[in-house]
């Protein structure tokens, strides 16, 4: 708050000079600004966070072990592989496109890896790299189909959905199932490796310090440029909330096994992707192409390259997710990556708040969305409910998420937020 009354700034900062701008100084002002954004249909992550709280309370009231440390650790672990796939879906959705084949690609990549390692006696690393590159290659072909031939993404990814399911069966041959050996590094990484308490708290401290440091740097640079700096009190509050929240989670999960390597990898991918989307030219261009492709092209953006990078990244994430899933389930089978994986990944991205209409969304929606879906699945499992119910509940949640997206889009257009 003190920053805005800074004596050294003779004139009002350029960005708050317009008298029609509703001033958002001080804590009350900040709260009002947030409220106005919400009223204007800029919901962001709010629905999914509320949904997560409601889901937790409902399951907790039915089955208190739902919120036990063990149960939460399981949720994080099981969420991670499909979450990685969902991260790729977020990218295509940002362009207003879709990839229906991520499930099949994940299964095919995992099977290729397993066959290379088990039958062709390649090392695990070689198998994994090959599997991931298969994903990249598939995505590159998709990109060519899209940019050169103009095939709609719905169509070629539907073809991929069928085609790579066939490829999975073909690669597995008459083996049916390939089990990863117990000493397989992948299997151990996905199932048995956890951050030690010390490492977890160090990581937490690094994250909080990085946040505070970057905000302080921003304050300095904005002041120097004569713009209003971020509110220091708010930065402090957010840092305390971040440290407190992560600290509590670390403590609570630590009662059981703690943060799994698998989940840490997933979150790291989400954070890196978020930074790339928000802070790099590439990310800016992804949003631009998703918002108005023609405007992006006329601004000199190589639109084809953006499509290429996104389709390739989506399939790469799908392959990586499939390989991690294989490690977690300890095997690859003919049912690896079938419809369930596919639709869960797509649903997660949408439930997390990424718009189906392109140009809006965040990497974090993959994280939040998949946690919601995994929480539902775990909760229903704990209550011994049949998987038929799970599908129906998941369907209802997805419908709700899409409805929220559509309604907030309407509200936005009537309140001037596009």
């Amino acid at each position: 708050m003190s920053a805005t009354t800074d004596e050294t700034q003779s004139a009002v900062a350029a960005d708050i000079a317009d008298e029609r701008l509703i001033q958002s100084q001080g804590l009350g002002g900040q709260a009002r600004a947030v409220w106005n954004r919400l009223k204007g249909g800029e919901l962001g992550m709010l629905p999914v966070v509320i949904g997560l709280i409601v889901i937790s309370l409902v399951f907790y009231s039915q089955e208190p072990t739902f919120l036990s440390s063990k149960s939460l650790v399981n949720i994080t672990l099981f969420a991670a592989p499909v979450g990685v796939i969902a991260l790729g879906i977020v990218l295509v959705l940002l362009l207003g496109e879709i990839d229906l084949s991520v499930g099949s690609v994940s299964g095919f990549a995992a099977a290729s890896m397993a066959v290379l390692v088990a039958n062709k006696s390649q090392s695990l690393i070689v198998g994994m790299i090959a599997g991931i590159l298969i994903g990249t290659l598939i995505g590159s072909v998709y990109a060519l189909l899209y940019t050169r031939l103009g095939v709609p993404s719905f169509v070629f990814s539907l073809a991929g959905l069928l085609g790579f399911q066939g490829a999975l069966l073909y690669v597995l041959g008459d083996q049916g199932t390939i089990v990863l050996p117990t000493d397989s590094g992948l299997r151990q990484f996905a199932r048995e490796r956890f951050l030690s308490d010390g490492a977890a708290y160090v990581l937490l401290a690094v994250v909080v310090l990085a946040y505070v440091g970057s905000q302080l740097l921003l304050v300095r640079r904005r002041k120097a440029a004569g713009l209003t700096p971020p509110n220091l009190t708010m930065v402090g509050i957010k840092a305390v909330l971040l440290a407190g929240g992560l600290g509590f989670l670390t403590y609570y999960l630590g009662i059981d096994r703690g943060w799994g390597y698998l989940f840490v990898l997933f979150v790291a991918l989400v954070v890196v992707m978020d930074l790339m989307l928000r802070k790099t030219t590439w990310g800016r261009h992804v949003y631009a192409v998703g918002g108005n492709e023609e405007a992006a092209r006329r601004a000199g953006i190589k639109v084809g390259r953006i499509y290429f990078s996104v389709f390739a990244a989506t399939s790469t994430f799908a392959a990586l997710g499939g390989i991690l899933l294989a490690g977690q389930l300890t095997s690859v089978s003919q049912s690896s990556g079938t419809t369930d994986t596919n639709l869960t990944a797509i649903a997660a991205a949408v439930i997390g708040g990424t718009s189906l209409f392109g140009g809006r969304g965040s990497a974090y929606s993959a994280l939040l969305g998949i946690i919601v879906l995994q929480a539902i699945q775990s909760g229903l499992n704990l209550m011994n409910v049949d998987s038929s119910v799970r599908f129906m509940v998941t369907g209802a949640v997805l419908l709700l998420a899409v409805a929220i997206d559509s309604v907030s889009r309407r509200v936005r257009s009537s309140s001037g937020r596009g």
């Binding site: 350029a14 317009d18 992006a296 601004a299 000199g300 953006i301 809006r360 936005r412 257009s413 001037g416």
Partner: protein
């Protein structure tokens, strides 16, 4: 993007020269054998009726469309503008008639789209925001915040953003396709001032407008297009509005001329300014 060469254009030297440009869309021959020259430090107005091919010509120069035939010479070199990024690298900045802004991005992001300022590997938001305010102030823009999505701006505010966009970077030629159509009185005056400032700094300017008063106020030369062809060319100081209107409509016995002759006696010359 620093692909532009740094040498200052010499006033009077030809920046852009088009010869024999043809462009067709299916059955429509939008441009037929069009030629056009723009010198550094010169404002050329491009006028003509709706559908005369003005916007199409601008899009050919800016690389949005490829001409079917014809040569484009820019800064003394024959070029082919393969796409908008080529045009941008050459130093051709365009304000399109349909503005071409991304609704989901904020004002700063739109202003610097395709020419983002970087701090190491990441976007330099602070510098871009500061620069955005400077650009908008030079246009007397009335924009409350540069951090709201473009969708939340009025038509004129969007147009101002689109015009400010063309000043980012280091262009040698600026093309403005009906830049003042949605602007208020003060903002229109600022855009006309801006055009004069661009001329003084030695840039070539192509201005498309249906407002004859504006055109006559700032242009050095007026090129009239009709049905996709060059119809006439005037030096502004030697031209009357009637001559312009006659050239645009292609006949002296048209509605506008008829109205003017009915009102003969009054020497009002603003008659042709209507759209």
């Amino acid at each position: 993007m620093s692909a532009t060469t740094t040498e200052k254009p010499v006033t009077g030297q030809t920046v852009l020269s088009l010869t024999g440009i043809n462009k067709r869309f299916g059955a429509v021959q939008a441009l037929t054998d069009v030629h056009l020259e723009v010198a550094a430090g010169e404002v050329v107005a491009l006028v003509g009726d709706n559908g005369a091919g003005k916007s199409t010509l601008v899009k050919v120069i800016s690389g949005v469309y490829q001409p079917d035939e014809g040569d484009i010479t820019f800064a003394g070199r024959k070029i082919s503008v393969g796409g908008p990024s080529d045009a941008q690298a050459l130093g051709i900045a365009t304000v399109f008639q349909d503005l071409a802004l991304c609704d989901n991005l904020d004002v700063v992001a739109n202003l610097f789209l395709g020419q983002e300022r970087l701090l190491g590997p990441v976007l330099d938001e602070v510098t871009m925001e500061k620069e955005a305010w400077r650009l908008l102030r030079t246009l007397s823009a009335k924009i409350p915040s540069v951090r709201i999505p473009i969708a939340g701006l009025s038509g004129g505010q969007r147009q101002t953003v689109a015009i400010a966009r063309s000043l980012v970077g280091n262009p040698k030629l600026v093309m403005l396709d009906e830049p003042t159509a949605a602007l208020g009185v003060a903002q229109t005056a600022e855009v006309l001032n801006l055009v004069e400032r661009l001329r003084e700094t030695g840039l070539g300017v192509i201005l498309i407008s249906h407002n004859m008063a504006d055109v006559q106020a700032v242009a050095d030369r007026i090129v009239v297009m009709r049905l996709g062809r060059n119809a006439a060319e005037f030096r502004t100081e030697e031209t009357t509005t009637e001559q312009l209107v006659a050239a645009i409509t292609g006949a002296s016995d048209n509605v506008v001329a008829a109205r003017a002759s009915r009102r003969a006696g009054t020497t009002d010359t603003t008659e042709g300014a209507g759209q």
